[in-house]
Every structure is written in C-alpha cells, then in structure tokens.
C-alpha cells in the first residue's frame, strides 16, 4: 500500500508539497496510437491555482492529454508531472491528489445522488464522520440536497454535471481535470456550472485544467488557454492577449480559426463526433 506520510498529506487537502511544484508540467510528452500521433512533443506548464483551458478542434489531442495527466493512459515518450509526481511512475500519488470529470457521463444512473457521493467518499478513504459532513456540504454547495435520494437517471443534464463536480471534489483535490465540462448543456445549466467552478476554486484553491472547444467558455472561465492543433500547442496566453495579438477587434473564435486553420473539419474523427453527440443527447 502507499506510505503513511503521503496518506496524511493527501487527507489534509490541497497538499503542502503542491505549493512548490507547478500543478502540471509536461516535457516533450508524446502519445501514439499505431500510426497516429495524438499528442506530439507537448510542453505544458500550468501554475498552481490557475484555471487553464486546453482548446482545439476534435482530434487535436486534448482528451488524450487529459487521459495521460490523469494516469489513465501511459505516455509513449516524454514525461508529465502533476504536483511534482510523475504520472507514469508515481501514478498512485497522483491519483490521491487529483479530481477528474470525464467528457462522458460518469455518474451512475442506477444509484441515487447521495450513493454516488458515498461510494467515492469511501474509495478515497474519507473517514466516517468527515464523510457525512463532506457529502452534505457537497450536496448543499451544488444545490442537490433535495435530489439526494433520487435515482440519478431521473436527473437533468445540468444536475448530473453538478453531481459529478461534487463527486470529484469530495477528497479536496489540488488539481481538477475536466474534459468538455459543459458539452450538451443548455445555456442556463452552462452558466451554473461555470459559477460553481469559479466558486470551487475560490473556496478550495484548486487548480482547474479543462478542455473545451467552446470559445465562450474559454473566454468566460480561463485565465490562460493553450490552443492545440494536431497534438501540439500552437498558441498560448490569456484570452485577452491572444485576441490583441490578432488585433482589429478579433474574437476568440477568430483566434481559434487563425491557429487551427481548416482543421475544424479534417481533425474530427467519426468516433469523436459520435461520442460528442451521444454525450449531448444524454445530457440534453
């Protein structure tokens, strides 16, 4: 099992060791799938406490990057560190300290909201007394207290997303990874999710790394964005700076198109499109 020291560090929340190291740092990170290079020579630095957006068209390598950073996928070469821990060699250390909300629907529809939270509180080994308190707090915070004992399959898309965020914050992760957090949500639900993410950061000081191809979302939420194209970062900066660089009242949409060109169409694979639509249908 893992050493007692790291257990204590993970339990006390944001992790003292995290303050020195950047939240995420990758060096020449690469991932291949057969002949396809999904992530190519990626160098990324996410400072602690930031809300960082990974932008790019479908197939740009955003989800693959997130999967490597969350230890789901091993890098082909290069390295990635989260809070100073190597994702390949110290994956368990990383897992104790991060939260993850996949693009797909990840709350279990055949359990209630409360049960979804309970199971994850137990997986993260939060002790009984603390567990009850944190679950109640999470339900209140996300406005789900009234729906706690309802089966999640009866939830709306926005409620499910809020539950997933609540689930991912139970163990007070120092870094939260979100893959397309608002895809398929209606405008009201999207804004609610954004508000909750900002509140989370304020309350717990978590670093947030999210992927999106929604420019409004990036503009509203992210302090720094990296635009990815064909597995590489092609632009990096605050949304405002990127717009200024292009000049002439450019929007973030313009910036996106400028750096990724026609990739909107060529990058998307059938599988990605199918997944987006499926997620959208479930949430909508």
């Amino acid at each position: 099992m893992r050493p007692a020291v790291s257990e204590a560090a993970a339990r006390c929340g944001s992790g003292a060791e995290g303050s020195a190291a950047p939240a995420v740092e990758t060096v020449r990170l690469m991932r291949r799938f057969g002949p396809l290079t999904a992530v190519d020579d990626l160098n990324l630095l996410v400072p602690a406490g930031a809300i960082f957006g990974l932008l790019g068209p479908n197939g740009a390598g955003k989800s693959t990057t997130i999967k490597m950073l969350t230890t789901l996928l091993a890098p082909t070469s290069g390295s990635a560190r989260v809070l100073g821990f190597d994702v390949a060699r110290q994956s368990v250390e990383v897992r104790w300290r991060i939260g993850y909300i996949p693009q797909l629907l990840s709350a279990d529809g055949s359990l209630t909201g409360y049960e979804n939270l309970l199971v994850f509180a137990k997986l993260y080994d939060i002790r009984r007394a603390e567990r009850a308190r944190r679950i109640q707090e999470a339900l209140d915070f996300m406005g789900l207290a009234d729906a706690a004992d309802t089966l999640v399959r009866r939830y709306s898309g926005g409620m499910i997303r809020r539950l997933e965020i609540a689930q991912s914050m139970l163990h007070r992760p120092a870094v939260l990874f979100l893959d397309e957090p608002t895809v398929g949500l209606d405008p009201v639900a999207r804004h609610t999710v954004w508000t909750h993410l900002r509140d989370l950061r304020r309350q717990f000081g978590a670093t947030i790394l999210m992927t999106t191809h929604d420019m409004e979302e990036a503009d509203q939420l992210c302090e720094v964005v990296a635009i990815m194209h064909r597995g590489r970062v092609v632009a990096l900066g605050s949304p405002a700076d990127l717009k200024v660089t292009l000049g002439g009242g450019a929007t973030l949409d313009d910036v996106f198109v400028h750096y990724t060109g026609t990739a909107f169409e060529e990058g998307a694979r059938y599988q990605d499109v199918a997944r987006d639509r499926r997620t959208a249908r479930r949430l909508g």
Binding site: L72, L73, R95, Y100, S106, D108, S110, K122
Partner: protein
C-alpha cells in the same frame, strides 16, 4: 491493507445498492434454471439410465443447475463493465486511488452476493419438488460460500474478456460461445464417469466441475463429493486468485 479492504467493499457496496433499487432483475434471472429443473430434470429423471449412484437424477442435477444458473449470470457480467465503460463511470473509478486489484475484487464480491439470491429461489423450488436438501446451518453456509466463489470466478473471467473485446456486440457473441461449453464440459447434469476420456479431461480443467462437486455434498442429503471438499474449494480459490490478477492487469486497458 485495511484501505484495500475498505475500497473493495466500497465497489461491492455500489453494486449491491443497485440491486436493491432494481430487485426485479433477480427474479427474471431465476426463470431459466427453474425450467431446467422442472422440465429437463423431470423428463430425464424418468430415464434411469444415468448412473447417479444412490441419488435420484433430480437430486443429482439440482446442484448442477444451481451452479449453472450462477455461471449464466456471472459470465455476462462483462456486459455491465462495458456499459460502464461506454458511459464513462469506469474512467472515474480508474482515476481513483483504489488499486486495480481492489476494483476487480469488489466487482467479484458483488457478483457473489448477487448469485446468492439465486440460491434462495432455487432452494424454494427444489423443496417443492421434494428434492432432498440438506438444511443444516453449516451445509447452507457452505453452499453460499461455494456459490459466491463460483460467481466470483466466472464474473472475473467475464470482466477479463470484456477488457479485451471492449464492445457489447463482440462480447455477446463470445459470451454465447463460452457458456454452453463450460456447462457441458462439466459434471453439472451428468457424472464424470459417463464422459468419454477427452471430455473428462476438459471437465477436470473446468472450475465449474469443482463447484458442482462441492455443491453435491453440501446441498443434497446423501450426496458425496468425488474429490473432497478441501480440494474442490482449494482449486477454485486458486483459479479465482489467478483470474483477479489477470483482471487487474487488463482492467485499465478497457478504456483505451
């Protein structure tokens, strides 16, 4: 170690809570084994050609049908794993600090609990059919342990297959191909002594055979285990440990 156990129990608890929300599923699962007992058992029981020792054919086959019903449920367990993968639920479990062994063991444990409910239904019908059941506490506990072990084995096997094939369509095909050979290459509905040598060889390598052998002694008044209970349980326990090791290795691959 205690963290490992708590995480295993958390995974199992999730599954058991799901069952509580939808208990109908368990009832529908019981229909098939009942048909085997009531129709197949009755008809073949009249044959009196099958050498079942001092047991009647119905007494002989009842443990086999119980084991079979556990097998049939457990072998399709992988479908729910693929379903969870397609939804995205599995991703979050894999990002949690729980070890892969704990995740797989939790699933196996929940399959065991699920299978025990089958036993209750089959016992009720068997009693109505005047099958000679052993009803001592020790015997019943033994039966439950044997069922849980069998369910854990075949559900973990199923999970490992699911991690390799990854889609429901392919899994359904393979599941169908696996169940009948596992069932027929065992002592569930006919004794080993009746089998041609090649089939007896296969049956000896089939964990279901050892489960049925144990059940025959534990469940039926006058039933005898051929290999002895310690060997029956030891073989299946070793198989389970090996399969959990394999499942834990394959589990992370399901999402790639």
């Amino acid at each position: 170690m205690f963290v490992f156990l708590r995480q295993t129990l958390a995974v199992a608890e999730a599954e058991v809570r799901k069952l509580r929300h939808d208990p109908m599923e368990l009832l529908t699962r019981a229909i098939q084994p009942l048909l085997w007992l009531v129709v197949f058992g009755r008809v073949f029981g009249r044959l009196r050609e099958i050498p079942t020792g001092q047991l009647s054919y119905l007494d002989f086959m009842a443990p086999g049908i119980l084991a079979q019903s556990v097998l049939f449920i457990a072998i399709f367990y992988g479908i729910s794993v693929i379903w969870e993968r397609d939804l995205g639920i599995l991703h979050k479990f894999l990002v949690s600090p729980a070890s892969r062994v704990a995740l797989v063991s939790g699933k196996a444990l929940s399959a065991g609990v699920r299978a025990m409910s089958q036993a209750m239904i089959i016992y009720a019908v068997a009693a109505l059919m005047k099958i000679h059941l052993r009803l001592s506490v020790g015997a019943v506990l033994g039966v439950l342990a044997s069922i849980a072990l069998g369910a854990a084995i075949f559900s973990t096997f199923s999970l490992a297959v699911a991690c390799v094939v990854k889609t429901r369509e392919r899994f359904m095909g393979i599941g169908q191909v696996l169940t009948m050979p596992l069932f027929f290459a065992s002592n569930a509905i006919y004794p080993l002594a009746m089998m041609p040598a090649w089939l007896r060889g296969l049956a000896a390598a089939n964990p279901l055979t050892y489960q049925v052998d144990a059940l025959r002694e534990l469940m039926i008044d006058g039933g005898r285990s051929l290999f002895g209970l310690p060997l029956d349980f030891a073989v299946d326990a070793i198989v389970l440990v090996a399969l959990i090791g394999l499942g834990a290795r394959l589990y992370p691959k399901i999402i790639t």
